[in-house]
């Protein structure tokens, strides 16, 4: 089995929650280490601008 999947199944979960905060709250309630990211659409949500930015970065 791959190391990263093995780690997921056998080591404590550490989660980056991107989006709906309720998911992070419920993980916290299960004593899981989690960081909440209040995600916003990049570059004002403009797909074209986003792709351009990605090429530049």
């Amino acid at each position: 089995m791959s190391g990263r999947i093995d780690e997921l199944l056998h080591e404590p979960l550490v989660v980056v929650n991107l989006g709906v905060k309720r998911f992070a709250d419920n993980l916290e309630a299960q004593e899981v280490e989690v960081v909440q990211v209040d995600w916003v659409p990049p570059a004002g949500g403009d797909q074209e601008m986003m792709e351009l930015l990605e090429q530049l970065l």
């Binding site: 089995m1 791959s2 056998h10 989660v15 980056v16 989006g19 989690v34 960081v35 209040d38 659409p41």
Partner: protein
Amino acid sequence: MSSGFVIRENQYYDSVFLMGVNKRLSQMQGVQQTAALMGSERNKQLLAQIGVRGAAIDAAQPNDLIVAAIADTSQTVDALLASLDQALQAIEKSTPASTLHTLEEGLAEKPHANLALISVPGEYATREAMKALESGLNVFLFSSNVPLEQELHLKRFAAERGLLVMGPDCGTSLIGGVGIGFANAVRRGTIGAIGPSGTGLQEFTCQVHHAGLGISHAIGAGSHDLSDEIGGLTTLAALDALEADPQTEVIALVAKPPGAATLRRLTARLRTCAKPVVGCFLGARLDSVKGKASITWARTIDEAALAAVRQSGAKGAPPSRSSPQTAFGVRRQEASPPTIQLTEQERALASQTRSMWAAEQRHLRGVFAGGTFVYQSQQILHEAGLVVHSNAPLDPRFRLDHPDRSQAHTIVDMGDDDYTLGKPHPMIDGATRRERILAESHDPSLAILLLDFILGYNASMDPVGELLDAIVEARQAATRRGGALTVVASICGTEGDPQDLNLQATMLREAGAIVFRSNALAALFCCELLKPV
């Protein structure tokens, strides 16, 4: 009728937050409909569908908030839109904002993270999931509306890197005892599970729990994983992982039938699996899969759970039939293959119940939150020779002409896109189910109301309470017509779930419902109610 809208530029909120805002606004007197949405193209189309249009809406961007209202008078619309800040502040107060706004910022905070849980709108999901994979994270992708070619790309990339992508459109996983997304508080144990359907995994894991054993890991694969376009990439990766996992003794696969090519690929892999495998492809004819590999095939989720419990060596000594855990629900039989049956008392109850129906009462109406339960119930009723119509039909010949209009025996999936675009899923909020139950209550042919209730993390905290007055009203309406409505309910949940399982069951019973601890048993009971006399 009057309508109006306001736009707040650069004010982004997640969908669950907006559901809270929408619910608060919609409670104002005189309001017909409200919508609180971000300005994506998809959402703008939804607004146009309810008749809310304008140049400012056309120009809105995906990170602009649009709140629209339709009400009896223009004064109500104005008052509602003026109260928006109050509603936003009230919800914000209960959910303090994070200062982090990107995956990179989250990773800087938790550089040792091993999982990204992603629930951003579908059009951005691939980009964020790819960034997570590139950073070496496994991914749980709750987001839906991700194109299949993007899903395939993500899963191939993950396979190359030895990472797992659960999803897109993944509702449920249980990893090392932790429920991710919609999951139940299930005992840890020796049975591993894989499935593309969230409610299918929830029901399976709950049935294993009720039988006295537990789950090592339950891995959600995403609703399209077993399509031939995707080829079961996550399912196969999960199989490898569970086969190698020392804690897992048995592996169960619970799904709708895979695509033909994927089924061939999957059975070839299962043939070489070093651990016992239980397969349950709901809706598939068992003779189409029997004889393929050394697998125990089950017809229903309950039977898959029983087979897995038996295969695991029953180290946890499943309780006897008379123990409290099996008082209503799981039956364990020693004969192979395992089957579920109604008890004599339940058969007698069915006979007594239907004797109270008026002459015109003859139809079953299922109003469901869980898509897998819609599928499984149809299968069980079809096997009993009953024709059931649905907006998510097992047999395409029996698709409803219109999802809002039931025909003869009908089971409607209220979690389908027909009912969830721009509205909360019925597992989170029972409003659309409540409306449908009330609509069904006017039909004199209604004899059986079949319902599912799904408990667990992230689900509604009071799913029964949300529907209770509608259930009572439907029963009273039938009584006023000189008959009696039979309400049959199943609860998917455990005593450890955040909702109180026993209280939810008690509330249903006090409202006159007959309650089962599995959807399959509730459907079997309906077969008994409807069998020719």
